[in-house]
Symmetry: C3
Subunit: 202 residues, 3 copies
């Protein structure tokens, strides 16, 4: 069952890398910029997370993640030149992206729980892991991160992080808490895409 969780993380790395690379391409960046945006979108949230809890980022000490990310960047750039229409809004990519959001948020929550943070700290790590990379990518393109403005994208990660913390406090194993909250985040995000949910402004 834990294998499913690892697979979700890999799908997420691939999808996030593709999204970042496509954003870079659409903004007219050069080859280096496109690769940086893909890498940062996929790995940036996890790197900030690991740094916050005082660990050397896992992305810099293992070749697995970065290999998947570079594949995602490469395939996205190649496909975007041959496929008609906006690849970045393709249902397959939106679904893979939601899988990534779910897996990343749950992974972030697990790291926060292992570091004995408060529920606030756990939610911050879950959210940062899920949306931090994409927000960094937006910042490098000098755009207000879309998650702050009008989407229902960070909210599932926030709720999922809290849920994972509650489940562990209630006695579930971290693994089952992570899988449960990941499934919840994925379902909530897919509903938000389907029905075009927005958070209120004031």
């Amino acid at each position: 069952m834990f294998d499913v969780f690892i697979l979700m993380n890999w799908i997420g790395l691939f999808a996030f890398a593709a999204v970042g690379a496509l954003k870079g391409k659409d903004a007219g960046l050069d080859l280096f910029g496109i690769v940086v945006l893909g890498v940062l979108t996929a790995l940036g949230g996890g790197i900030i997370r690991d740094t916050l809890v005082g660990e050397i980022p896992a992305a810099l000490t293992s070749m697995t993640d970065v290999s998947i990310v570079l594949c995602g960047v490469f395939i996205a750039v190649v496909l975007s030149r041959s496929v008609e229409g906006a690849l970045i809004d393709h249902p397959a990519l939106l679904t893979a992206d939601a899988i990534g959001l779910a897996a990343f948020a749950a992974t972030g929550a697990l790291v926060g729980i292992a570091a004995e943070l408060t529920v606030f700290g756990v939610v911050v790590l879950a959210t940062l892991t899920g949306v931090g990379g994409g927000s960094l990518c937006d910042l490098l393109l000098t755009r207000v991160p879309v998650v702050l403005r009008e989407d229902f994208y960070a909210t599932p990660a926030v709720i999922g992080g809290g849920l994972c913390w509650v489940a562990v406090v209630a006695g579930f194993t971290p693994t089952s808490a992570a899988i449960g909250s990941a499934l919840f985040v994925f379902g909530l995000r897919m509903l938000a895409v389907r029905y075009d949910w927005r958070l209120p402004t004031f």
Copy 2:
């Protein structure tokens, strides 16, 4: 006497959170964006500071600070809907913000002194703790941080950080050095607000 210093930090957390939330609201962000900007303005400088000296950020391991911050965000949003005129320029908020700048700068200097940094390192931590959160907030809104452009806001923190270092080197206890430099920063900032001081450009 140290209780006064803790109280100044709490007032600062409240005021910084309110300022960040109001900036987010004025920029048309959604609920998540408003909360993120409030939290980041109040806690972002301290989180960067703790990370730089290799500690897990205190804001992620204690519920005290974040509770005050969420109160500040909530009250600012509620008040901004019922009060006429721009809340963000209200004298009470400007004063509370100056108290926060003073307490944060002194706290940052203490952390730098405890980590045995150079005077430059101490000044950097004092300044980052005082103005780092607000600058992150500006960056997320894709604005050049106002402290870099035209205000007399970071300068009191810079001088206060140096003063705190000098006082500790001269034999004062860290606590009295922090309180003394915090009072100095507060006074200097209030004078700058009162007389509309600016730093020169070239």
Copy 3:
């Protein structure tokens, strides 16, 4: 021979500080903003690098680097008021900047190798040390970092980082690997300036 490498780092600190300060001055920042941009351009990449591998940034614990940086800021501002024409494009500054890029990339690679990162991690640290400070400076001015868009500036650092890793794996001492890759980065960057190289866009 290692003295040459230290000298290259010093020239780089001076040049990067000057470039950052001139960018700040051209953007109309005040005195504090100009100093921050100079300091951040010169020291920002190294500070991020040290934080990622879990060390307190060297720039905060030694006065050597920051002294050179403040000299660079001061001299750049003074010269820019008396010299005609754009100082920032002056061949002497471009050359000193290329020396800095080379020394910083090699230093970053050495730090990554010492922390036992993967080749990807080593390349990331080399690149961040070389172009991270300048990119932070661009971000604070709300500009898409120029290295992501159209320059041949980060590429030498990327290749140099990989080269340094290969050389160490092949049995060269870290010192000779660093000097060799620094010379390579410098040569490649000067060629790029001379012939106006660009990376492809898509």
